[in-house]
């Protein structure tokens, strides 16, 4: 990892093909767009939560979980909501680390949106949480697309953790990734 102040990987050629994305906080009025991916089993199969079964279910999730969350953002392309990304900070002594998760509406997969969203999220998080020293993310062993997204966004693979987490009633093997948080005044390499 290079030690530049933004900790965002350098501008390779392939970045010119990455779409322009913006991140913004959610609003209850986003429930319709939210349902697009939240009700899709192809997206939720890699999430802890199952698909939303109704707009009421989605609205409740937005109100109870998304809006009060420490860091949860809508991913927008050309102003349209296409997915979400969130960072969960550790509790108490573990505040120095956070885990990132994201999900994208199926029709927008394969266009570099998730990679761009991750880069933007990392950039914001390093600025907003100066005490952050570790950003981690997991991808299921059976989800190579997500592994590629994390790698393209500059995350480094640390290992295969067996039966690490329960998803939909079954324990899963995951690949653990991390991005050491390089801040302007840290003595990190």
């Amino acid at each position: 990892m290079q030690a530049d102040s933004s900790a965002v990987p350098p501008n390779h050629d392939h970045r010119k093909q990455e779409p322009d994305i913006t991140l913004r906080p959610f609003d209850l009025s986003d429930v319709g767009a939210f349902m697009t991916w939240a009700s899709d089993p192809r997206v939720t199969s890699f999430q802890r939560r199952g698909p939303c079964t109704s707009e009421e279910d989605a609205r409740r999730y937005l109100a109870d979980h998304v809006l009060p969350h420490p860091w949860y953002r809508a991913i927008c392309v050309d102003g349209r909501l296409v997915g979400s990304i969130n960072a969960k900070p550790g509790q108490g002594e573990e505040r120095f680390k956070a885990s990132i998760a994201y999900r994208l509406a199926y029709q927008h997969w394969g266009r570099g949106i998730a990679t761009a969203a991750l880069r933007a999220a990392v950039s914001s998080l390093l600025e907003e949480w100066p005490h952050l020293e570790r950003l981690e993310a997991i991808a299921e062993v059976e989800n190579p697309a997500s592994q590629r997204v994390l790698e393209k966004a500059g995350f480094l693979r640390e290992g295969l953790l067996r039966k690490y987490v329960m998803l939909h009633g079954k324990s899963r093997d995951v690949v653990m990734y991390s991005l050491p948080a390089t801040h302007p005044n840290s003595d990190d390499i």
Partner: protein, 173 residues
């Protein structure tokens, strides 16, 4: 192994306080641990009462029936209910005799039998703690990788080696 015949695991009792103080007050022992060396027996008594005794899985490592260390498994909940984290500590006088390995093996065997739904026991060890890494390897844990800057120990963020023992592994042992 011979060491397993000498070592037994049992629940702690407050009457173990003096034995517990032997390793809890030793800087060599606490060096790689998340807790700080104890200087006051009353603080340790409180820790035993509030954390050790009510803990879901916390055992004394005994030699000839007397505690020479401790082993515990912190169990997860919800999405993490398939896993537990092993921690162990041994009085310095008993290092290098295979007791840590024996205790880790016995703890893993017991906890998989006792806790329904548990599939993974993991352990996180400081990259510089080679002794503890050897103990886990000899106990049959698999080294999965290094989690960078993943734990704060004694005020410094440390790289930790992650080891795991899966319930399916236990059947082979």
């Amino acid at each position: 192994m011979a060491e397993e015949r000498e070592i037994t695991l049992r629940r702690f009792d407050l009457s173990d306080l003096d034995d517990y103080m032997v390793w809890a007050s030793d800087h060599r022992v606490s060096a790689f641990c998340r807790w700080d060396t104890y200087t006051d027996k009353e603080d340790l008594r409180r820790y035993m009462r509030e954390t050790v005794l009510p803990h879901p899985w916390f055992r004394a490592i005994c030699l000839g029936g007397r505690p020479i260390g401790a082993v515990s498994v912190n169990l997860g909940a919800g999405c993490d209910r398939c896993k537990g984290e092993l921690g162990y500590v041994l009085a310095a006088a008993h290092w290098g005799r295979g007791y840590g390995t024996a205790a880790a093996k016995m703890a893993v065997r017991s906890v998989f039998q006792e806790v329904e739904g548990l599939e993974r026991v993991e352990a996180l060890v400081d990259v510089d703690n080679k002794g503890s890494q050897r103990v886990l390897e000899k106990a049959g844990f698999v080294r999965e990788g290094v989690l960078r800057k993943s734990m704060v120990l004694k005020g410094r963020t440390r790289d930790m080696v992650v080891f795991s023992f899966i319930s399916a592994d236990a059947l082979v042992d």
